[in-house]
């Protein structure tokens, strides 16, 4: 692929997807951090683990998850450690999907998604297939960024000389040809 096409891909795909996905995760994290108690209750409501025995894990997850989203979101927007950040987002989305399906499949559980704290994006707050589809859609850009990374406008590009370990060969200045 020529360098020109890579620039076009970077401007039209990688950068908007990075910023969009990163911004969404920062937004989600911010809302959760503003209501940690509600988020803890939401996690408990999913009934993935026994709240009586593993309540401390739920509380720990309620504090950790928003910060993981925040860090991944910031890294994605900056284009720093893009593949790792996108992989973190991918894993979180996969985990959310599994938890959502667990709730949907169990008729006795009625839980709130709390995906964006107390705000709703596209779907209602109550867990349903809408949230599963939404997260599946978000997996697409996350997968793309894991595959193609941040592009020319990412900080990874700036620091490529120091962190070329897992970068694809075409990001090396090799005359614009992908290796």
């Amino acid at each position: 692929m020529s360098k020109g096409k890579l620039w076009v891909e970077s401007i039209l795909l990688q950068t908007p997807l990075r910023v969009g996905l990163g911004g969404l995760f920062i937004f989600a994290a911010y809302n959760k951090l503003n209501g940690i108690q509600s988020f803890a209750y939401a996690i408990k409501g999913f009934q993935v683990v026994d709240a009586d025995r593993y309540g401390h894990l739920i509380i720990m997850a309620a504090h950790m998850m928003p910060w993981a989203e925040m860090i991944a979101g910031v890294l994605l927007i900056l284009g720093l450690w893009t593949r790792a950040a996108a992989a973190a987002v991918w894993l979180m989305l996969a985990g959310f999907i599994a938890a959502l399906i667990h709730v949907i499949m169990d008729d006795l559980i009625s839980a709130d998604c709390s995906c964006f704290g107390d705000m709703n994006l596209i779907c209602d707050a109550t867990v349903g297939w809408c949230q599963v589809v939404r997260n599946l859609v978000l997996l697409i850009p996350a997968s793309y960024l894991v595959w193609r990374q941040g592009g020319f406008l990412a900080l990874d590009r700036v620091y490529r000389d120091k962190s070329m370990d897992d970068a694809p060969e075409w990001t090396v200045d090799n005359g614009g040809e992908q290796g």
Binding site: L33, N34, G35, I36, Q37, S38, A40, Y41, K44, G45, Q47, A51, G55, I58, I59, M60, A62, H63, M64, M65, P66, W67, A68, M70, I71, A72, L75, W81, R83, A84, A85, A87, A88, L91, L108, I109, S110, A111, D112, D118, D124, A125, T126, K162, S163, M164, D165, D166
Partner: protein, 223 residues
């Protein structure tokens, strides 16, 4: 030093762990504890102005009742407001054929017990989402989901100000295994409320039974 993607991934997780731990140390008051709730209707301080005497509710009756049209304050009040539900004939509260004694989770109130408490003037709290409350709620119930303490503590305190600490409070959500009412009960318990009861039946059951409801957004939150 060169880091590969798995190492960077671990670094992100580690960073989240450190920040989350720090956050928990700073905030430190997150709990999953549920309130110790009572069941049954004994010992309730009744409100004689609220509808018919509880013990007049019949076990079975074929007659039905229309839900009152009034849209009263969202806050339960001891004083009988002008838009209070009309006192119904005893035979009217039949549950519209709904089983008022349908099994509910242990320690929670049946529909019949809940309605008795409603008639006796207990404070009802709706712990569902705002749009669900606006679409319809038990008449005289206040909207107080647990997350309101995070998002709009002023509104939450306004609701609490209208309820005495020793008042009988019945909390409800959609029924079944919904945790919303338990979560609100846990918050209220932290604020010193002692007589908290969970309605095991959900709002839809209340509606299907033909018991009084109201619609509208959060009207009359102030005491």
């Amino acid at each position: 030093m060169r880091m590969k993607t798995p190492q960077r991934l671990l670094a992100i997780v580690g960073g989240a762990f450190l920040l989350g731990t720090g956050h928990s140390l700073v905030s430190g008051n997150v709990t999953l504890k549920e309130a110790a709730t009572k069941s049954g209707v004994e010992g309730v301080k009744g409100d004689p102005n609220r509808g018919i005497p509880a013990d007049n509710i019949p076990e079975d009756s074929p007659e039905e009742v229309d839900t009152p049209d009034e849209q009263p304050s969202a806050v339960i009040e001891d004083d009988q407001p002008e838009s209070s539900p009309p006192t119904q004939p005893t035979a009217a509260f039949t549950g519209n054929g709904v089983d008022l004694d349908a099994p509910v989770p242990e320690g929670t109130l049946t529909l019949r017990e809940s309605h008795i408490l409603w008639e006796e003037g207990a404070y009802f709290i709706d712990a569902r989402h705002d749009y669900e409350y606006e679409a319809g709620h038990i008449q005289y119930s206040a909207w107080l989901p647990a997350q309101l303490f995070d998002t709009d503590s002023e509104a939450a305190f306004a609701v609490m100000d209208s309820i005495p600490k020793d008042g009988t409070i019945v909390l409800y959500c959609v029924g079944g295994e919904c945790d919303a009412s338990k979560n609100t009960a846990a918050m209220l318990e932290q604020f010193g409320y002692t007589d908290l009861r969970i309605m095991g039946a959900g709002y839809e059951d209340w509606v299907n039974a033909g018991f009084p409801t109201a619609t509208g957004a959060d009207e009359g939150v102030s005491p």
